[in-house]
């Protein structure tokens, strides 16, 4: 890692937000976060959790009511947006309608007074990077949604920003495109070694793109960790719930012991989070009642009520095409896969 203070530091920052009725609320409430040079951090949270406000405050588009935003130890307070050397990518691209693709990408370079020849070379390089080589003289109105976002990415990467801020850049796209573009964004960011803060409400996107994920809720930071740690060791029930875990059970309780079986729990007083994929059907286990069954992309999902635990989704590979789904009301027995149960950190 690099020297302390290098990169972006957000220290105890408060960003206020004015409602239509004139009252002010804290969209970001005393939040502290560091992003090291070259690192990609995803800000994950439900809509309205203040992630976009934080992003805009870092860019200088929202005033910081309290706290400091620093880059390499230098306070950015008072530095206007256009002098921060950051990039920002919007959900809907916000391409300049009166400029073609190449001139959109060249905008930031023009602001840096990069010579024309160098500019053209860099634009071609960036368009190539985002998979749009040869699109330079296209009218932006003629692009598809995915192409627009690629141009927007190229445009924000072109001036080599010291920090790239991405505000839900893929949310407006359809699912298949989103998944593909998430990988492309990750590849482009690592290829250029760009430091990035990526706002999203989509877990898959955050896990696909980020080195570390910061979970935000109601203006506060709940947890910042690498994806694997976050997934297996959520710091609180709230984080686990937001990640999609469905039910919680004390490891030391009778049902907890029955679920984990011989493998046992990591610690008897731990709180286990159970979610889709945590349980599988076994001949002898904890009794459960099927409440619903359906197909999802090659798997069967059974929603079951586990006695003493609650409603959990059991995911099984779909095998025999002739086999019928279990009927609602069928009794089954389940057991937990110890590697697919998360241990909630806040407990014990």
């Amino acid at each position: 890692m690099t020297a302390p203070g290098a990169g972006l530091r957000v220290e105890d920052v408060v960003v206020l937000y004015r409602d239509d009725d004139g009252t002010t609320k804290a969209a970001v409430d005393g939040l502290t976060l560091a992003v090291a040079p070259g690192e990609v951090v995803a800000l994950l949270g439900p809509s309205g959790s203040g992630k976009s406000s934080l992003l805009r405050a870092v860019a200088g588009l929202e005033p910081v009511a309290r706290g400091r935003v620093t880059w390499d130890g230098t306070d950015l307070a008072g530095v206007p947006v256009h002098r921060r050397g950051m990039g920002l990518m919007f959900q809907d691209g916000q391409l300049f309608p009166h400029r073609d693709v190449a001139r959109n990408v060249a905008f930031g370079l023009q602001m840096q007074r990069v010579p024309r020849a160098e500019r053209a070379r860099r634009v071609a390089e960036l368009l190539d990077l985002v998979g749009l080589a040869g699109f330079g003289d296209r009218d932006v109105a003629s692009l598809s949604g995915g192409e627009r976002q690629r141009v927007a990415l190229a445009r924000s990467l072109a001036p080599r920003p010291r920090l790239l801020l991405l505000d839900e850049p893929l949310s407006a796209l359809d699912r298949a495109l989103r998944e593909r573009l998430a990988d492309d964004v990750r590849a482009a960011l690592t290829a250029t070694g760009t430091t990035a803060l990526f706002v999203t409400h989509d877990h898959d996107e955050a896990f696909a793109v980020a080195d570390r994920i910061a979970v935000m809720d109601a203006g506060h930071l709940l947890q910042v960790d690498p994806p694997a740690v976050l997934w297996h060791r959520p710091s609180s029930r709230r984080v686990a719930e937001f990640l999609g875990y469905e039910a919680f059970v004390a490891a030391g309780s009778p049902v907890g012991r029955a679920l984990t079986g011989e493998a046992g729990a990591p610690a008897p007083d731990a709180l286990l989070a159970v979610g889709p994929g945590s349980l599988h059907r076994v001949p002898d286990g904890v009794a459960a009642t099927v409440r619903g069954a359906g197909f999802r992309r090659g798997v069967v999902e059974l929603v079951v009520d586990v006695e003493g635990v609650g409603r959990v989704t059991v995911v099984e590979p779909s095998g025999d095409p002739a086999a019928a789904l279990p009927a609602v009301g069928t009794q089954v027995t389940v057991r937990a896969d110890p590697h697919r149960v998360a241990v909630v950190g806040g407990y014990g």
């Binding site: 002098r83 921060r84 990039g87 300049f96």
Partner: protein, 573 residues
């Protein structure tokens, strides 16, 4: 990685540049404010003072006197009736026109759309002359016996304002999502029901906005009424002129101006309300959808809409224009170019003091000055009002300016002209009589044209997403560079249209000019009005030829402006 880290003293420098920016914006707001204070607020206040103040004390006896005259009430009644009927007819005819010309697609649509706007920019005097030649006893519609009647004036007003309804409602309709109506149809509503219960309510803000503007134009119409109305026919607007220039009763004129301001203020308030709700509704717009008039999408209502629009375009819009054109070639000695040859003369005995060509040259000169003034002032207004500052007081100030700058939209041109006469003999007590100078004419015309410029440029500037500014700023564009590289390229095209509109309006401006033009330097509309006021077929023929000349000049200006305009621009009103 770039090193853009700011030097230690940077915050101070940034603060200084922010202060400089604040000063520049204040200046940008101050220039138009000063212009409108001196050349709009001050003259209007002077008129109100004339009506209300006598010997330094509040004196309402002028009101009591004027309001007790039966003549006043007859005139107020005529004004309101004329405006109401004109508005209703313009809306009833204009809504089908908006549908056909903006919602549907057919060959030649662009041409018809361009033609429909011609009357709006035609000088009022030309419109008056055109309708007179149609309705005169020997005209094509002479059998109606509408010459000099209420019906004739209303027909001319509808002719003039049809385009306002078509453009305002049409622009809105074109962006309306047809799927709402389609949803109603799949839920079992017959076409007329789906239209009445889904589309019509959605259009209401646009219709209300157009109606308020049309009412405003109808109630302040001057040239048309003066030329078309027979003896004894009068509106508040013409009565101000009559009281001033013929009875020399300035106090009565002042009282009438105050009355007129009240009517205008009410119509403007309604228009402002409707505009806000329309702009709010426009935020939800989708991409334009156009329906084919042929094929399976055609509905029974389409046929009716096409029929109504065809009738209006041919009977109401084209007929008067063609009549003027044809008649301009008829001289007392048969058909020929005699009337056009006479444009180089001063007409019959005692008709004119200059030749029509000289008047045309004066008109062009004045219109050029007025256009520069109107575009600079109006452009600054649009720029300032389109800003969305973060701080609350600044936001409030912008909203206030928005309202203030719209006031001249409703001012009657006659009030401006009369106000200049009253106020600018010794402006602010300075011993400087501006009335004899030719400067007042372009200034008055600019005051009349500024709201149109604002209305054309402002919607385009407002439609630029704030985040587009932010995207540019994040990429390193300073506030000045954002203006230059984002706002300017987008707004420049609408500025072309604004220039054209301002030029056309000042070319045809008659209300204010008729007060202010010096007798030895009349403009083209003033000359036309003088010619039709003189007896003799030669003078009428010359008036018709001069009208064709003025209409051709206006049309040429608008044609160039439409060329400059690409993509979308604001609505007419």
């Amino acid at each position: 990685m770039t090193t853009l880290t700011a030097p230690a003293s940077a915050p101070l420098a940034y603060r200084r540049s922010a202060v400089r920016r604040g000063v520049l914006w204040a200046l940008a707001a101050a220039v138009p404010l000063a212009f409108l204070t001196v050349f709009f607020a001050y003259p209007v206040a002077a008129i109100v003072g004339r009506g209300l103040v006598a010997d330094g004390a509040l004196d309402l006896s002028g009101f009591a006197d004027v309001l007790s005259r039966p003549r006043t009430w007859r005139i107020v009644g005529t004004t309101l009736a004329q405006a109401t009927v004109g508005t209703v007819l313009a809306v009833v005819l204009g809504v089908p026109g908006a549908y056909v010309l903006h919602r549907c697609t057919f060959p030649g649509r662009t041409a018809v759309r361009a033609f429909v706007v011609v009357p709006f920019v035609l000088p009022t005097v030309v419109v008056g002359v055109a309708f007179r030649s149609v309705l005169a006893p020997h005209g094509p519609l002479g059998f109606l016996d509408w010459d000099g009647t209420f019906a004739g004036v209303v027909a001319a007003l509808v002719f003039f304002n049809y385009a306002v309804v078509v453009r305002t409602v049409g622009a809105f309709w074109a962006t309306l999502d047809p799927r709402a109506e389609q949803a109603a149809r799949t839920l079992g509503a017959p076409p007329w029901r789906a239209f009445v219960s889904v589309t019509l309510p959605a259009l209401t803000p646009a219709i209300a906005s157009a109606a308020a503007i049309v009412f405003l134009f109808c109630s302040t119409a001057f040239g048309v009424v003066l030329v078309l109305g027979g003896t004894g026919y009068g509106t508040v607007e013409t009565e101000i002129w009559v009281q001033t220039t013929q009875f020399l009763d300035l106090r009565a004129a002042a009282v009438l101006s105050v009355l007129q301001l009240l009517v205008v203020g009410a119509a403007l308030a309604v228009a402002g309300r409707a505009r806000t709700s329309r702009e709010r509704a426009l935020e939800l717009r989708v991409t334009q959808m156009r329906l084919a008039l042929r094929g399976p999408e055609r509905r029974a209502g389409d046929v009716a809409a096409v029929a109504v629009t065809g009738l209006v375009v041919v009977g109401l819009l084209a007929l008067p224009l063609l009549t003027v054109l044809v008649r301009s070639f008829r001289t007392p000695s048969g058909w020929g170019l005699g009337n056009y040859a006479a444009l180089g003369t001063t007409g019959g005995p005692n008709a004119l003091s200059v030749t029509v060509w000289e008047a045309a040259a004066t008109s062009l000169r004045v219109a050029l000055d007025a256009t520069v003034l109107a575009v600079v002032v109006g452009g600054l207004v649009a720029l300032v009002v389109s800003r969305r500052p973060r701080s609350r007081p600044a936001r409030r100030a912008v909203r206030l300016l928005d309202g203030v700058f719209m006031l001249p939209l409703g001012v009657s041109a006659v009030t401006v002209g009369f106000g200049f006469l009253v106020a600018l003999d010794r402006p602010f007590g300075i011993d400087l009589d501006l009335r004899g100078s030719l400067v007042l004419v372009p200034i008055a015309q600019a005051v009349v044209a500024v709201p149109l410029v604002v209305r054309t440029v402002l919607p385009v500037l407002r439609a630029i997403d704030t985040r587009l500014h932010e995207a540019a700023a994040v990429l390193g564009a300073s506030p000045g560079a954002v203006l230059r590289l984002v706002d300017w390229p987008v707004a420049a095209r609408s500025l072309g249209l604004a220039v054209g509109l301002a030029f056309a309006v000042s070319l045809g401006e008659f209300g204010a000019t008729s007060f202010l033009a010096r007798p030895d330097r009349p403009t083209l509309p003033v000359v036309i009005f003088r010619l039709i006021g003189r007896p003799g077929a030669e003078n009428l023929g010359m008036a018709l030829a001069a009208s064709v000349l003025l209409a051709a000049l206006t049309a040429a200006v608008m044609l160039v402006a439409e060329r400059l305009r690409a993509g979308s621009a604001g609505d007419l009103a």
